[in-house]
Amino acid sequence: MINKGDTKAGLYKDTLIAGLWRENPVFRLLLGMCPTLAVTAAVKPALTMGLSVIFVLVCSNIVVSLMRNLLKPHLRILMFTLTIATFVTIADLFLKAFVPRMSETLGPYVPLIIVNCIIICRAETCASKNTLGVSIIDALGMGVGFTLTLCVLAGVRELLSTGKIFEVQIMPSVFVPWAAMGMPVGAFLTLGLLLGLVNMITSRKT
């Protein structure tokens, strides 16, 4: 999975880049599709979701990495889920306390981070096998990669469905908003087209 760099710094850099591009959770691994499709109607909720996932991912990777030598193989998934659920609950409480309106917009998708494949995948493939440093870098890379992907998707959808981004008018006044882009069909269309674009770019490189 992770190309071992010659030096420690090389390894960290490799790990970070992997999450951002080479193993981007959404575009390359196709993980975490539920939030990707559900909360990308506008950039703000997508960004909040991304930041929540980064928080949960980093915390759970730290905890899992610290207890990796104590894990019993048949109980490991249970431990991962327990760890993730704890940090998701904490993130949910913070959102409810400090950004109540955003918490309402995201609704059940915040508690659903518990079953987000990206976080379980990182705990299983990275944090339970690597040192603390690598796990944190991996979590940051994957988390930021996920957030950026959500924001790109949400940016395209918000721009086409309302002509605005962050409530700032971008499109000229002659632009007719495509309401469909804000609906689920827009999520599937945009994701499909972006996946195709990423595949095109990567296949050209190799």
Binding site: L71, F94, P100
Partner: protein
Amino acid sequence: MLKMIKHFIQQSWLLIVASFFFGLLIAATNYALSERIEQNKVEKFNRLTAALLAEAKPELAAELEIDSLSGKGQSVKVYKVVTKKGECIGWSFKADGPGFADKIELVVTVDKGFERIAGFDVLASNETPGFGDKIKDDYYRRQFKGAPSDVLELVKTGKPERSDSEIVAITGATVSSEAVVKIINNSLLQIKKQMLEKGLISNDK
């Protein structure tokens, strides 16, 4: 026997210890933030009431004891909604009950004499996005505006634009639509009765 217990502890000690610490962590976070979350809810209640009953301020008027939908006793705070001039224009209270996925909490406002519903809004819910959460939509909420504060009935087809006791259900979300009607019926009638008994409102027009 002792061997089994030893084996059990050996296998699961990490899980038990971790559960304890994680529980502690959540409890601490909840303790630190619960006040703020409560405050947010109060603010939202006031905001929704004001939106439903022309920019007015709710004042606590009575605390009543009613039977909740699960059959247990429940205390409800009824707020008197007054304008800036001090004139009472209606009442507002919180009502809750089970929805499709989770508890639904509503703000219900009624007119001065408890005769007609002024409207309701959703304070908190976790209904299915795209289906059950349409209880927040105007199409559904509009039907309660001006409906008599009597037993409301959910129907599958009808005229949603009429303000009567018939509420047309949302397609694909019968359970959520029914839940809202049940919640409003349950609290509204009990509160109305108690308000009459307490003399806070009178029957004559």
